[in-house]
Point group: C2
Chain length 316, copies 2
Amino acid sequence: MTNRITDLFGIRYPIIQAGMVWCSGWELASAVSNAGGLGLLGAGSMHPEILKEHILKCQSRTKKPFGVNVPLMYPQLEEIMQIIIDLNVPIVFTSAGSPKIWTSSLQNHGIKVAHVVSSLKFARKSEEAGVDAVVAEGFEAGGHNGREETTTFCLLPMVSQAISIPLIAAGGIGSGRAMLAAMALGAEAVQIGSRFAVSTESSAHENFKNSIIKAEEGGTELMLKKITPVRLLKNKFYEEVKAAEIQGATKDTLKELLGKGRAKKGIFEGDLAEGELEIGQVSAMIEKSAPASDIFKEIWNEYVFEGKKLCGLFAE
Amino acid sequence: MTNRITDLFGIRYPIIQAGMVWCSGWELASAVSNAGGLGLLGAGSMHPEILKEHILKCQSRTKKPFGVNVPLMYPQLEEIMQIIIDLNVPIVFTSAGSPKIWTSSLQNHGIKVAHVVSSLKFARKSEEAGVDAVVAEGFEAGGHNGREETTTFCLLPMVSQAISIPLIAAGGIGSGRAMLAAMALGAEAVQIGSRFAVSTESSAHENFKNSIIKAEEGGTELMLKKITPVRLLKNKFYEEVKAAEIQGATKDTLKELLGKGRAKKGIFEGDLAEGELEIGQVSAMIEKSAPASDIFKEIWNEYVFEGKKLCGLFAE
């Protein structure tokens, strides 16, 4: 089962583990790449020296391709990109910024570039900027998100119709059945975050992993829309933001309330009260932690099983 | 291609046209039923006498099954239900209220009952109440919606896993490809609103139909969450609500701003500035008006085409 994405990245299965702050270090990324998918290091929560260490460890643990997710508003962006180039990382996923500036210089070093968007408009701009693939991420995704609030169900068909480069689906995907639906909507691969955030190899704190497993329907909400929209698990910090927003809090008030380092506090240090707990709506369906390779196999096997079942409807 | 839904309602294709205020009268419902799907009259915008007239006209135009969508907070509910029973309408879709009170009395008259929900919790309660099928409607749907903001992509697999009665998908579905994705996520039929709202037979005003066709990504937003969440097309009225909400307007202020009769003003009378224009996110993909039977055929043919294409991935 090869397609343009498996060919582009040199992977066996079109399943990508999302680069997630404080979750996806070398342990998770190498485990997913070894399983036959594409593991991504999340540079967003790494100092340049730390990223270097993670890339080297990842290379020592897998001979298979892996990549780095780089948020383009990263303060030491040049340094980060130089490390990626110097260490011959073959794949970069960029997000949160314009793909115009870095795409061609990375590609000149033989690096494949995918860009993450949450709207049709930015999917088109990404293709114009020359990226190799687009990740379209719906409203249900964890962490930072778009202002249009377009859901995966509406976003994927719009983007797949508008671009000719391959499309990777993200947001709301944590099972083989959801992967099948994403492929039906025009994707050629899926990017999965929340499900891998609870994996054994995720560097997230156990408290955070447990809170994801406990989360039920309605357990997350897209908050802080006046600053940068972000989907959060409901906790004490969320309640404070909610109360402020109901009262009509200004940008400045919200920025002050957010402060600095809250994602680290919650996700990495396990402070479930004060932390900023970034996770997707699909957390409501996540029932357990498991090694990344088990999660990977379960998703793939379910995808194939459900695919064959669905095909029964179309048998002549 | 029969399944539990086609058997339950006695229809040929598992495609249901949503009951929509000010859009779905006898012309639309009979056209969809004649095309082999299930047409629904939208009782929410009809006085009892008007509903009676629509049912009789619908019966004179089609020998096939059709139904009525009844919002359970309707003021003259008893009268409405009596008309439905007296005129032998075979199918009722209830929404916006508890399915406990009416389900069994309708079923005692041989009427099949489906209930519309926007959450797993209410899907379970609907099954407990004995309904024959559940419609699960995601965050992207037009009009009134749930507080959990669960998207179609996340809602369908949760509900299909939790209930044993048949599931009908709604929200974000306006094409055969989206229908295929919904089936992959566990639905046995789809309920389509926005796409039929622009059909020739829809009783919506031409101004409203044109504004749906013009709508682009980000053209709708879920508003009035402090009262009852409702997805609206962005217009002058929306801007007023938005400005009030940003300032932290109270429930009372919002109720006053909403006033009465705004949906009629916008959808039926075509006042695009002052009207409450209820429509789904999928409006961004709607490009033209057409007779309901053409829309119906296009969706079905695309569903079969995309289904067979997808099956190519799973051929041994």
